[in-house]
């Protein structure tokens, strides 16, 4: 049994195969040295609420490390030095202002992705396609593809395409006029982007259109041709959590 040190500290040693140590410390001043030598370590949840925190030195030596860090402070100094053969670093900064940002990379190769490419690489792309057969009803509108942006996400529309062709062989050589629009509906208010063409159209947007959670997006065709048509429309972009 360890003996209390004259200064009041209590050394504690655990040597069992499975150790669980819930610790709740409430003190004005704490010195806490933790040395863990284990084959595996599960979840370590540390919640520090203090007016000031001194130096925290963390030295991790492992074949694989997943480290989620959420820092909320009026001022942060964060020095990170990574020595690794490969490293994936996702950094998401939300700040009113950013001071100096110095990045020093020494690597044999570095991949830099534009945002759309990166979102596709992360599996966040969306291709929303729809079709409807339209009978000869002049100036009637038909929705072909719809999507409501889920809670906690935002959708970036990077382009739209549409196609219209005759539904009967006898009308195949006629003009196949497509008139379409993207409708954004929030609280019964609507905003539009108008599109059109003869037989079809494709518009990649140089600046994406951003839709927030709860917005209903619809790709709608208006029937203008004088014969029955089949309309097919597609919206493409990516979605990410906010």
């Amino acid at each position: 049994m360890p003996q209390d040190h004259p200064d009041g500290t209590v050394p504690t040693v655990f040597s069992k195969a499975d150790v669980k140590v819930p610790v709740d410390i409430q003190a004005q001043y704490i010195t806490l040295d933790v040395d863990i030598t284990a084959q595996t370590v599960g979840n370590i949840a540390i919640d520090v609420a203090a007016q000031s925190v001194g130096n925290i030195s963390i030295n991790l030596a492992a074949s694989a490390i997943t480290l989620d860090i959420n820092l909320a402070a009026s001022a942060i100094t964060l020095d990170v030095n990574l020595h690794s053969q490969t490293a994936n670093i996702d950094i998401d900064i939300t700040a009113t202002s950013i001071g100096n940002l110095t990045i020093d990379i020494e690597a044999q190769s570095v991949g830099v992705y534009l945002s759309p490419d990166w979102e596709v690489k992360q599996g966040n792309q969306k291709q929303i396609t729809g079709s409807s057969v339209v009978a000869d009803s002049f100036l009637t509108s038909y929705v072909t593809a719809t999507y409501t942006v889920p809670a906690g996400k935002e959708f970036y529309l990077y382009g739209v395409s549409g196609c219209g062709h005759a539904n009967a062989q006898a009308d195949g050589d006629l003009n196949q006029i497509c008139s379409a629009r993207i409708i954004k509906t929030v609280d019964a208010a609507e905003a539009y982007q108008y599109l059109g063409g003869n037989g079809g159209f494709t518009y990649p947007f140089t600046v994406p259109i951003k839709y927030e959670a709860g917005v209903l997006i619809e790709l709608e065709f208006k029937h203008i041709a004088n014969h029955d048509m089949l309309y097919i429309g597609s919206m493409f972009g990516f979605e990410r959590s906010i």
């Binding site: 599996g123 969306k126 291709q127 729809g130 929705v143 072909t144 593809a145 719809t146």
Partner: protein
């Protein structure tokens, strides 16, 4: 809630196809990268108060087994191929 409809409302997919029917219903097919399956369901009154899933199924989207066998064989031979 059916799994397909859950994915529809949570945005848990990469591709979606909607086939609007003359009776106002819509057949929706959702798929996600690397899952080798798709969710297809027919729904009436989409987004409406009386929305109802009439039919739903999970589709195996893997290539036919004979195609997978050919791809496996091609990978085995690398760039050399056979004459």
């Amino acid at each position: 809630m059916k799994e397909g409809l859950r994915r529809f409302y949570s945005g848990d997919f990469n591709t979606m196809n909607q086939q609007w029917q003359s009776d106002g219903s819509v057949v929706i097919t959702l798929s996600k990268d690397d899952e080798n399956k798709a969710y297809r369901f027919k729904v009436t009154d989409l987004y409406g108060e009386h929305e109802e899933v009439l039919e739903d199924e999970v589709i195996d989207t893997r290539p036919p087994t004979y195609i997978e066998a050919r791809m496996k064989e091609a990978k085995k031979h690398g760039s050399k191929g056979s004459t």
